[in-house]
């Protein structure tokens, strides 16, 4: 694909209003456009109950500000423009997150996001100025033509990983993410998880595009980050009881999968293996699109559920499939997609990443092959853990019986403003899952653009042929399902109507919904196995005696980087600033004098 440039005069020092549409920004523009549209439509239905108590104008204003910032970020071709749009995104997202600002937890989550984002931005400013100084221009295109010395390239890479990693949710700088997602209104969470965190990935990709030559270890670092984020993200998710928090941790897992693909791609690039590089980056970029689609879908579904039940606690839900059949069906689509199961889009991108990893396993030198093996194992583990996690979510939220009520109130049905965007996203998931060729092509051409190679010279049919087999396999599977349904119908034809009884619980006379496994008990085995890593804590005691009194118990999983890295750090910083506070000057006049002296200094410096 050709690059398209668009320029306008813009009187900002070092800045120019230069937009560029190239394959790399194109692939990010797809999820941005889809998600902005879907979340906006959804919000019409979702925000209705809040209309009476809150003013919508500000929220809508910041929503549009965020939308335009997102588009600007992926199109910006100039450092100043990029950073401006980046700040615009951070600030507007903050205001969107704190919509329910009457709650203290929401304000805290928003503040945490704000602080973390700005720490990241600080590193980004540093990084961009290093790059601009080396390239002699603020224009991305010009910078990309300059040669970077190894040391500078490494520094830029590290700054990008940390600075953009804050936004993307790399462990351990991810801690704002599991707080901000549950705090914000659902359509904002969907946008945050689907698109905003991807801007971090976009930033890293753009830097990789500009810095053409990087040392070997960069690829390994990305691989390690991918494995760490992927496995830890899904393990944390398994330990959650809150639906949106669980989904937030799954975003970290999927960012891990994306980082894994990018790591393989980077290894391919630094070993002069363009095919491997395109496989890795192509898979990662396709997963960017896919994750936006199914995670958006899941968040929108979760929002509908929370609107119905007025709680996010999964252990209080159950049996919702009866009262909200459409939401449950679409949530199932999202769940299957996020587990990377065939028929849906998640499988396609994971397949390509697997393919890349195996290619690396065969052709990379020893340490590369070994890392690829680790990556394959990690990806397999992520897949099966995600399956455990989402079968748990789907089972406890939608199936079985309500856990705290006798029956869900029929009441108000989910508005079609909310259902239509979900249907739209579910359709995308299925389309990419069954007809992946178009999107895979787009992803591969962006990958090829990123590594500066020509796609037509690579043996891409090696990946498209298996993809076509997979599609036929999926279609065959669907045909088999239809065939088996028909067979079942015929076999049961003379026996209808089929008897309906209570669930067989091995002889108990009264079945209650309290018999059911909860999400915590379902995940207990897995969480129990890795309890030391997850800092699993349990409060309260179990039942004792033959006629036990009422007891209560709660269990929780704690984020190591939050508890042991950031909490002590913040405590230290607070202590430090308190100490400095003692010496603070308490007279405004002296501050004014400082300003005056500084002005004189500047004047003198200018006159010199």
């Amino acid at each position: 694909m050709i690059e398209k440039l668009f320029q306008l005069p813009w009187h900002v020092p070092f800045g120019e209003f230069s937009l560029k549409l190239d394959p790399l920004s194109f692939i990010f523009l797809i999820p941005v456009a889809i998600m902005i549209l879907s979340a906006a439509i959804y919000a019409v239905g979702y925000m209705r109950p809040f209309k009476a108590t809150k003013s919508m104008g500000l929220h809508i204003f910041f929503y549009f500000l965020l939308s335009s910032a997102l588009v600007l970020i992926v199109l910006a071709n100039n450092v100043m423009l990029f950073l401006g749009a980046w700040e615009m995104m951070t600030i507007s997202t903050y205001f969107l997150i704190v919509f329910h600002d009457e709650k203290a937890s929401v304000r805290r989550a928003g503040f945490l996001y704000f602080v973390m984002s700005h720490c990241g931005t600080f590193l980004l400013i540093l990084m961009f100025f290093l790059m601009a100084q080396n390239g002699g221009s603020m224009n991305f295109n010009v910078i990309s033509h300059s040669k970077f010395p190894v040391l500078l390239a490494s520094a830029v890479f590290l700054l990008a990983i940390v600075g953009f990693g804050v936004k993307a949710g790399f462990i351990p700088v991810h801690i704002w993410l599991p707080h901000a997602h549950p705090a914000s209104p659902t359509h904002v969470s969907a946008l945050l998880s689907g698109v905003t965190i991807k801007t971090g990935i976009y930033g890293i990709c753009r830097v990789l595009w500009m810095v053409g030559v990087l040392p070997d270890w960069c690829g390994y670092l990305l691989l390690i980050i991918g494995v760490l984020c992927g496995v830890m993200g899904v393990l944390y998710a398994l330990g959650q009881h809150e639906l949106k928090k669980l989904l937030a941790y799954h975003s970290i897992e999927n960012i891990g999968i994306i980082a894994l693909g990018m790591g393989v791609g980077l290894l391919g690039r630094s070993h002069q293996m363009p095919y491997l590089a395109v496989l890795g980056f192509g898979g990662a970029l396709l997963h960017v699109v896919n994750h936006a689609l199914f995670k958006g879908l899941l968040f929108l579904g979760a929002g509908a559920v929370i609107q119905k039940t007025h709680t996010g606690e999964m252990d209080q839900m159950g049996g919702l499939a009866r009262v909200m059949p459409w939401v449950s069906l679409l949530f199932l689509v999202g769940s299957l997609a996020i587990c990377g199961l065939p028929l849906f889009n998640g499988f396609i991108s994971e397949f390509i990443i697997y393919f890349g990893l195996f290619h690396g396993l065969f052709y990379l030198p020893l340490q590369g092959a070994f890392s690829c093996a680790v990556g394959i194992i990690a990806l397999a583990l992520m897949g099966s853990l995600a399956l455990a996690c989402f079968s748990k979510v789907y089972g406890t939220v939608f199936l079985g019986q309500p856990r705290h009520l006798k029956e869900w109130p029929q009441g108000e049905r989910t508005s079609s403003w909310m259902l239509i965007p979900m249907l739209f996203l579910g359709g995308w998931c299925l389309w990419i899952g069954l007809f992946p060729k178009t999107m895979a092509n787009v992803a591969f051409s962006s990958g090829a653009y990123l590594v500066h190679t020509d796609l037509s010279r690579l043996p891409m049919e090696n990946i498209f042929l298996p993809l076509s087999f997979i599609i036929s396999g999926a279609l065959l599977f669907l045909a088999l399902v239809v065939g088996l349904i028909i067979l079942r119908r015929r076999l049961l034809k003379d026996l209808r109507p089929l008897p309906v009884r209570e669930t067989w619980v091995c002889g108990f006379s009264q079945v209650t919904s309290r018999f059911q496994y909860t999400s915590s008990s379902f995940a207990r085995l897995i969480v129990g196995m890795v309890r030391t890593i997850l800092f699993f804590r349990r409060e309260g005691e179990g039942v004792k005696g033959k006629f036990p009194p009422k007891v209560s118990m709660r269990s929780s999983v704690h984020d190591a980087s939050e508890e042991f890295l950031f909490k002590p750090m913040f405590v230290f910083l607070t202590g430090l600033s308190r100490k400095l506070d003692i010496n603070r000057i308490r007279h405004t006049q002296i501050y004014l004098m400082y300003i005056f002296l500084y002005l004189i200094f500047l004047l003198a410096w200018k006159l010199k």
């Binding site: 697997y354 195996f358 853990l385 018999f515």
Partner: protein
Amino acid sequence: MNIVFLILVHWLIVLTLAPLFTGVITKVKAFFAGKKGPSVFQAYFDLQKLFQKSSVYSSTTTWIFRAAPIVNLAAVLVLSLLVPVGVLKAPVQFAGDIFLAAYILGLARFFMIAAGLDTGSSFEGMGASREAFFSCLTELALFMNFITLSLVARSISLSTMIGADFPLSWKLMGPILLLVAASFFIVILAENARIPVDDPDTHLELTMIHEVMILDHSGVDLAYMFYAAIIKLFVFAGILVPIIFPIQTGNITVDMLVFLGAMLVVSIMIGVVESVMARLRLNRVQNLLLIAFALAFFGFVVKMWKG
């Protein structure tokens, strides 16, 4: 030859031979217990009986409960196309079919677990939870085996990897293949709910996994589940056989007889293991599965060492 014809023949053979395989295992177990035991054709009779029965549904369940057997059987049938049966080559082979194999089983598992939770009973929930947990560990071992085999065969197509096209050389790769075969044997036992991981014969103890998960299914639904389990066991054994008996003479009859003999050996092996071992305590199962992973990992290390 026409691909549709090949697929149909493949299914026909798998569908007819698979119940016999289970029958042989049961016979071996009966022999060890000093009993006469049911006929080796018992699985056919069971299937026939179940297909004629009506289904009973719990008032708690939704369509997921009904969909699970269908998805399960369809997934296993797709899986069977990727695996050779003796001289019959796998009708569908392509680079990366191992991922389709692993993930289509995942699809079936998702629906099984969901159906278990759909009944709203703690028994099914318990089974579902265990299935989810153990399958994570089994998946690790399975993929480690895939990695090692793919390095041996320089391919990521299942048939090539297990040496169905070109027999793997035990002379060159002996230690690696031994480790892989041992590891994969444990995977077979775990994936197919056999002793020492699970007990296929009962569901009434609190320790069961697969059988308790399908406790509420009946009639045609149970028949689908039952058939799927039988085919899955057969297919997994069909993956192991070419690895441990890499014999190809070129003569179709001889090869087919070798294959059937090898399948007999595998079924006897499973039967013997089930007879001489007790089911492991639940908190020990994870150790066994990690051993399977470790075995495959050592195979990988040896392969990397030898280059």
